[in-house]
């Protein structure tokens, strides 16, 4: 017996059905039966009179849901605005952002932070390593990761699509685990509140231009009391003599094209005015870092400024000019194992005036060198304890 007879057997039914339809169309010839029956006194009725309607078919009328109105696009305004989002990369690094935010940069974190950045105990280090392994390897989340291409070294090569933990989830897990550890170590830290996935928007005038910062933060750690002022008013006054960097022939707004459709509303990521910003955690969630360290550090300064300024605008209701009481914000910016930390003191919202803001920072620190499975075992190499000790220093500020 041929195999094809079996393989095509399922099609036979279809042929019969088709034939049924075709044969169903017939011309009914008059056989004279009706006339004979009528002659004998038998009533002849058309079958449709008996058969239809066969039964009542109830219909239920259901109203469709009202159509969703399309999201209104913002109107094009005549005055253009430079909108700095998380996608903005300062071409000239920190110098460019200094000119945008009117800030002075100090290399090295403030002494109050460094004093409290004590060395880790062996137990703390072990717990941090556990947190890293938890975030990077031992998470049960498995999704299809982004495509990897290496056009220059392996053109045309399609790498195997990997499944694993997405970068954003790794960052969030790691940050959350480290914050749990820090809350245990720092007394009184449990009173702070953690707000997740915030959007902060603030608008400013920069000479004759309009600028807006619109930044997402993974976490904002809010404390019941504001952070203490790091520079007193006299020292802030002395900043006026500091020179700003020169990025001639570039404008500070390079790589951020002014757009016309924007909204002028200010909003701080945390709704209540009682939640004073303590530390802002920004995650750089791209699978591949397209920026250099200099660009990355510049972004950190901009994030710190935007959150401090939006908070100041909400609290002090100030639009422009110097603040009566400076706002201090700490920022932790991370991409994979790189941590960049900084402390920012906002003294003024006048971005072109003499008085200046100040930012303490230091080069980024890798938390570890390598964290992957080797021979089916989770391996963590090159752990750097300095990162956690600095985080302790930041967390202990109050």
């Amino acid at each position: 017996m041929r195999v094809t007879e079996l393989r095509f057997a399922q099609n036979i039914g279809s042929h019969f059905k088709a034939l049924w339809l075709i044969q169903g169309k017939k011309r009914v010839s008059d056989t004279g039966a009706a006339a004979i029956l009528r002659a004998k006194g038998v009533p002849v009725v058309h079958p449709q009179e008996v058969l239809s309607p066969a039964y009542d078919r109830p219909f239920e009328k259901v109203d469709l849901l009202p159509r969703l109105e399309p999201v209104k696009e913002l109107e094009e305004k005549q005055t253009l605005c430079h909108v700095f989002t998380n996608k903005f990369s300062p071409v000239m690094g920190v110098s460019q952002v200094q000119l945008i935010t009117n800030s002075v940069v100090r290399s090295g974190l403030p002494e109050t932070v460094l004093e409290r950045a004590v060395e880790n105990t062996a137990e703390e280090d072990e717990k941090v390593k556990e947190a890293i392994l938890h975030a990077y390897l031992l998470d049960s989340k498995q999704i299809k990761l982004t495509r990897v291409l290496d056009v220059i070294n392996r053109p045309g090569w399609i790498y195997k699509r990997e499944y694993g933990i997405p970068v954003a989830r790794r960052h969030k897990t790691l940050t959350y685990q480290l914050l749990l550890l820090l809350d245990h170590l720092v007394p009184g830290a449990a009173e702070r509140q953690l707000v997740e996935d915030t959007i902060t928007t603030a608008n400013f005038n920069h000479s004759d231009r309009l600028i807006q910062t619109k930044h997402r933060a993974a976490f904002i750690l809010s404390s019941p009391n504001p952070l203490p002022q790091l520079l007193d008013n006299e020292e802030v006054k002395s900043l006026e003599e500091e020179t700003m960097p020169d990025i001639y022939p570039l404008s500070p707004f390079i790589n951020c094209r002014a757009i016309g459709n924007y909204s002028l509303e200010d909003s701080y990521g945390v709704g209540s005015g009682h939640l004073h910003p303590h530390t802002i955690f920004i995650h750089h969630n791209q699978s591949r870092m397209p920026h250099s360290e200099e660009h990355f550090n510049g972004m950190t300064l901009l994030y710190a400024f935007s959150h401090a300024a939006a908070y100041a605008k909400q609290i002090a209701k100030i639009e422009n000019g110097n603040l009566e009481k400076p706002v201090v914000v700490q920022v932790v910016h991370m991409h994979k194992q790189h941590f960049h930390m900084g402390v920012f003191q906002l003294n003024t919202l006048n971005l072109t005036g003499l008085s200046k803001n100040i930012f303490w920072t230091q080069p980024w620190e890798p938390l570890f060198g390598k964290c992957c499975f080797q021979a089916a075992k989770p391996v963590l190499e090159g752990y750097n304890p300095k990162v956690f000790s600095l985080l302790k220093g930041l967390h202990a500020q109050c």
Binding site: V91, V151, I152, P155, G156, Y248, P249, L250, S251, F253, I254, N255, R257, A258
Partner: protein, 345 residues
């Protein structure tokens, strides 16, 4: 006949790909479609492309049989326009980065000035330009083997640390007599500039024997000639009001003195020496296998020496006279003589 038709449709295909949108215009000779930003503005982001596999973008028919496949090359929109202010000052641009471009043999430069970020085709050895996107630069300093510059990374290490490398664009001084033009009917250059590699000047301001690249053939039209890796043209002489430039093919063209040119050779000088290496690599580059029947001619076939073509003069064409019609339509044939379809039967 077949080949003539193929060339005709090829030209139509290329014409369809001449892109002009917003401010800077660009002409591409590539068999890909580029998707531009919705606002049509210039961008330094690589543009998404659709590969056509040798097909005509309009008719969909195969016009080049040996194209297809290969790694996708997103298009880098190069800003070919280098103009400065006309008040005697210079426009300085800072080189941000030297980049690789899969669509051309030369390297390109990310340059910036003011609010603008642009890509320039990469220019003379160390100098590349402004932060709109990239330009074809020239890397003549790669030339001598003992100069220590053999790669882009070498070049980048040579850049001044604050990254202040810029191309200055010299203005065309039409109004100022002592500078550039003279009212004398014969062409006299009163002041020639001292050319610096990477800077752009009008060809009329450059001394003879200067090596140039990214050459315009019409003032304000953008660079058209001498863009390939390692190439450079030479400013030969002046004839009347025109400047004669020798192209890399030794052909000479007479140009308007206001045409802009960049000083130096185009970068990636060793490009021509690199071997494709394998048949598979040709596939990565998007070329399909040929029949193998074609053979390169050898010395047995004799030496071909032909005189150079006469100097071609570019410039503003005289305005053409309008076409007038001296007949009326009813005089023509009563029905269409060209069938509306290609069908023969």
């Amino acid at each position: 006949m077949v080949s003539v038709m193929a060339v005709g449709s090829l030209c139509r295909g290329l014409g369809a790909l001449t892109l002009r949108s917003g401010g800077p215009s660009l002409t591409t000779i590539s068999f890909t479609k580029h998707s531009f930003q919705q606002d049509g503005q210039y961008t330094v982001k690589p543009l998404k492309t659709t590969k056509l596999g040798g097909r005509d973008p309009e008719t969909g028919r195969i016009i080049v049989g040996t194209l297809g496949g290969g790694a996708k090359r997103n298009y880098r929109w190069i800003d070919w326009f280098r103009y400065g202010p006309k008040d005697g000052t210079f426009l300085e641009e800072r080189v941000i980065k030297i980049l690789y471009d899969p669509n051309r043999s030369a390297r390109i430069a990310l340059v910036a000035h003011g609010d603008n970020l642009s890509c320039r085709s990469m220019m003379p050895s160390s100098l590349i330009y402004s932060m709109r996107l990239w330009s074809l630069g020239v890397l003549s300093r790669f030339g001598p083997p003992d100069c220590g510059l053999h790669s882009i990374s070498d070049l980048q290490s040579q850049l001044p640390k604050p990254l202040v490398l810029a191309a200055a664009v010299c203005p065309v001084m039409l109004g100022a007599k002592p500078f550039y033009f003279c009212s004398n009917p014969t062409w006299v250059v009163v002041l020639l500039v001292r050319p610096k590699e990477g800077d752009a000047y009008p060809v009329g301001a450059l001394p003879t024997s200067t090596i140039v690249n990214c050459l315009e053939i019409k003032p304000g039209d953008g660079a058209r000639f001498i863009k390939a890796a390692g190439t450079g043209g030479i400013i030969m002489r002046r004839i009347g009001k025109k400047v004669v430039v020798q192209l890399p093919t030794k052909r000479e063209v007479a140009l308007d003195p206001e045409c802009m040119a960049t000083v130096g050779r185009v970068s990636n000088v060793d490009h021509g020496k690199k071997h494709v290496g394998s048949a598979q690599r040709r596939r990565w580059l998007g070329r399909r296998p040929a029949s193998g029947l074609w053979q390169r001619k050898t010395g047995y076939n004799g030496r071909k020496i032909r005189p150079l073509p006469p100097i071609k003069s570019y410039g503003v064409r005289p305005e053409e006279l309008p076409v007038m019609r001296f007949t009326i339509g009813s005089e023509g044939p009563s029905r269409r003589i060209i069938p509306s379809t290609d069908r023969v039967t």
